[in-house]
């Protein structure tokens, strides 16, 4: 072949390829650097609310109607990636104007890193006074006297035992008047699970859950069942949470309630009460299975309800704090720290004033009531948590339960300098241990619990020591409230 022969064909090819590249280049940069014209003047807002999205969208509509010229552009990010994406967006200097505060890093660090815009310009004492007393808390949503966020949610019992009426009725678990016999103690749960499993001949199981997503579902069971048994720390999954404040320690190994419940839990499994696919089901699949009566009882939070309501499945009840005896010896306690910070205005926002207005709208009493009416949870405003006027009976029951949530000790109230304490999470953590116990991988329950309690205490002491090294006056004794009675409301006093 001669080179001239080669060249003509080759040239054509190269030219075609070149043209293709150019055209593509045009396309890419049109998409890439093209002006975000329409959204340029919109407020950007990030959240991770998926099931709550209808409520957010409604709020956006109302806000845009009330503030002509301002529009909100919402992006709902995946929960699992949310903290990373917010961190990267801040790293790039282009964060959204308003965003839900990620759970990691601590709010204190977010303030220290200059992510959040102080709101004191707008959050006047008059504005603050619309919230219940104690809402604004140094170290939670106030730093150096400046307000950074405001709450949306109030405190309800985090988890409940859900009871499927259809399954109970077909297993004959009814009272003489035909109503469903609701189990309230550990023994009643055991016998109900046994009856359902026996009578349904493989069609239904007494209990079930969906553990596949790695969201710590099995710790929910432990948390719900041990509180009533008198372990007020429960088993929450957040790092540095779940201490028994009477002693300022984790009591997994010393309080018999933990091992007692886990032994009962294993017995339930051995006797075949659980739906056999529970470990590998996703939480969503488990929710659908419960709806279809594949098991009679499950543990979950109020987030279960919107979907069931949407599917017109409301024939269930919920109980909280099932206990060894009929009277619970421990409760759920209000969380002014976690609920206190919801969303914040970005320090980089060029429309901080409009951004605050949007935050103001989201945390208004009216929006809070709509939050409740849409079955999302309870509002920060007690007046909004009125079961009257809520059609869904199970949800009204949940709203009613907020009255059982007690005020407990809050270390941050006593010593705001604890704000910077950010302990690591041990591995295995409590939800891993419960899983290991359930699958039989952990044989020595007591030892696993004790060593976890020690590890958690060690991590917290290390984190406290790190903060103390920065010259803050903090110590492990800040977590001890020896005079606390877990069955009574408690008012934390400021450290003198």
């Amino acid at each position: 072949m001669t080179s001239s022969n080669v060249s003509r064909r080759g040239l054509l090819r190269t030219a075609a390829l070149g043209a293709g590249t150019l055209a593509l280049g045009g396309g890419l940069s049109a998409c890439g650097s093209g002006s975000p014209s329409s959204s340029a003047d919109a407020l950007t807002y990030w959240d991770w609310y998926v099931t709550q999205a209808p409520w957010v969208d409604k709020e956006i509509d109302l806000f845009e109607k009330g503030h002509s010229g301002v529009s909100v552009k919402k992006t709902t990010q995946q929960n699992a990636k949310y903290a990373d994406l917010v961190a990267l967006a801040n790293r790039s200097g282009n964060p959204p104007d308003v965003f839900m505060i990620p759970q990691v890093p601590s709010v204190a660090e977010q303030v220290a890193k200059g992510w959040l815009h102080p709101l004191d310009e707008w959050a006047t004492p008059a504005w603050q006074s619309r919230f219940p007393e104690g809402t604004f808390l140094e170290g939670a949503n106030v730093f150096d006297g400046k307000v950074y966020s405001a709450p949306l949610k109030g405190s309800g019992p985090l988890y409940q035992l859900y009871i499927h009426h259809g399954v109970f009725k077909s297993a004959g678990l009814t009272n003489p008047d035909g109503s469903v016999k609701i189990p309230r103690t550990w023994d009643e749960v055991t016998s109900a699970a046994q009856t359902i499993t026996k009578k349904s001949d493989g069609k239904s199981y007494g209990l079930g859950f969906g553990n596949a997503d790695g969201i710590g579902v099995l710790a929910w069971w432990l948390d719900l069942f041990v509180r009533g048994a008198g372990a007020p720390g429960g088993a929450p999954t957040g790092a540095g949470t779940g201490l028994d404040y009477r002693v300022g320690k984790w009591t997994y190994g010393t309080d018999r309630s933990y091992a007692d419940f886990l032994e009962l839990f294993v017995e339930w499994k051995k006797r075949g009460f659980f739906h056999p696919n529970s470990v590998s089901l996703s939480d969503e699949a488990a929710r659908a299975f419960f709806e279809r009566g594949k098991f009679g009882m499950t543990v979950g939070g109020v987030w279960n309800q919107p979907e069931w309501t949407q599917h017109k499945f409301t024939d269930y009840s919920l109980v909280t704090l099932p206990s060894p005896t009929a009277t619970p010896k421990g409760f759920y306690y209000a969380d002014p720290v976690g609920n206190g910070s919801f969303a914040a205005v970005s320090a980089k926002s060029k429309k901080a004033h409009e951004a605050f207005q949007w935050l103001d709208a989201l945390t208004s009493p009216a929006a809070g009531r709509r939050w409740v009416e849409d079955l999302n949870g309870v509002s920060a405003y007690p007046a909004g948590n009125d079961p009257d006027g809520i059609d869904s009976k199970p949800f009204a029951a949940f709203v009613g339960m907020t009255r059982q949530v007690l005020r407990g000790p809050v270390p941050l109230v006593r010593n705001p300098e604890l704000a910077g304490v950010a302990p690591g999470a041990p591995k295995p953590d409590i939800s891993d241990v419960v899983t290991g116990v359930y699958t039989g991988q952990i044989k020595d329950i007591q030892r696993a619990l004790s060593s976890l309690a020690d590890k958690k205490y060690q991590l917290l002491s290390d984190a406290v020591a790190a903060v103390a090294k920065q010259g803050k006056k903090v110590s492990m004794s800040d977590y001890v409230f020896a005079d606390w009675d877990p069955t009574k409301p408690y008012t934390t006093k400021k450290k003198a």
């Binding site: 903290a83 739906h275 056999p276 089901l281 950010a422 999470a425 295995p428 991988q441």
Partner: protein, 331 residues
């Protein structure tokens, strides 16, 4: 560029030039300027986006850092010590090796057998079957995970209980939820997911064997079995080494499939090294909003890389030893 230059160099290079006649380094670099230019795009991309990040992360291994701002809390070798003393890390190493050493032989044998069948020119619809067996490869692990999980959830009600009732299995098995079966199920799905790659590699290798060889063997009176062992196997050896190496490299870095199917659970029963690292770098394994620990993640990653390099070096040494002994025996 002068044509002469290239021609001279091209002529000279294939057999290494005699040492005495070797031109100076500067000259050789200048003579190869177009080579460098052509290599440049690949080199720049690789250096900037693959090699530089690896080195940058090496710096992180000495810090306790949650990935926000710049690392500042220097901890020396503490991260490495912590990883070395973490039983979960070693469990993850063990699971990864089990995964690789079960998956690779089984998958390669299956792929080779299938390739031999599909390579037969008389076989009709070979292209169709090839496509069928390759299709799982083009599917992302995320979609595979979703579909398989949904299937297994339904499995419980149909096939699972059927198996149990007919006495094939002892009671109901939660395939991905039982620590005894979960890793095996993941390996099986792994074999299914990437078998297509090895199938086409083997097919490609088989196509390079000249048909005349088989014809000659036939004339010599060799049966199919004999020609398989005398021609196919020896001719495939070189390709085979590449396929084995690629399969092992891929299996040692298994991640997506495990992450979407079990996330490493139940209770770390299927935790592999890359899910372990991922959980460190992106927060806790169990829904807790745990602080990410980039320093620890980087340290784990480097230790594992080191482990793999040592392992490969040992393998190369062993292979050399074997071939040396073999040549010695032949002499």
């Amino acid at each position: 560029m002068s044509l002469l230059d290239t021609r001279e160099r091209r002529r000279a290079s294939p057999p290494p030039p005699p040492v005495a006649a070797r031109p100076g380094l500067g000259r050789r670099i200048r003579a190869a300027k177009w080579s460098y230019l052509y290599l440049a795009p690949m080199a720049v991309l690789l250096l900037a986006f693959v090699i530089y990040p690896i080195f940058a992360s090496f710096g992180y291994t000495f810090y306790h850092w949650n990935g926000i701002g710049e690392p500042g809390d220097y901890v020396g070798l503490a991260n490495f010590r912590q990883i070395l003393h973490d039983g979960i890390f070693w469990g993850a190493v063990r699971h990864t090796f089990v995964y690789a050493f079960v998956l690779v032989p089984v998958q390669l044998l299956l792929a080779l057998a299938l390739a031999l069948v599909l390579n037969n020119p008389k076989l009709k619809f070979a292209l169709f079957f090839r496509t069928v067996y390759f299709i799982p490869v083009v599917t992302s692990a995320a979609v595979v995970g979703v579909v398989i999980q949904l299937m297994l959830a339904n499995f419980g009600d149909s096939a699972g209980s059927l198996l149990a009732k007919t006495g094939v299995t002892d009671g109901h098995i939660d395939w991905l939820g039982d620590p005894h079966t979960a890793l095996a199920v993941i390996i099986a799905i792994g074999i299914w997911h990437t078998l297509g790659y090895n199938l086409v590699y083997f097919l490609a290798g088989l196509q390079t064997i000249p048909a005349e060889l088989y014809e000659a063997a036939k004339l010599d009176g060799c049966g199919p079995v004999q020609s398989f062992f005398r021609i196919t196997i020896p001719m495939l050896r070189q390709v085979g080494v590449v396929i084995v190496v690629l399969a092992f490299i891929g299996s040692f870095q298994v991640f997506d499939l495990v992450q979407v199917l079990t996330g490493g659970g139940p209770y770390f029963a299927t935790e592999v090294v890359n899910t372990y690292i991922y959980h460190l770098a992106f927060g806790g394994s169990a829904g807790a909003a745990a602080q990410p620990d980039i320093g620890l993640a980087s340290a784990a990653s480097f230790l594992y890389g080191l482990l793999l390099i040592v392992f490969s070096a040992l393998q190369v040494l062993a292979l050399r030893q074997i071939s040396r002994r073999r040549t010695a025996a032949h002499q």
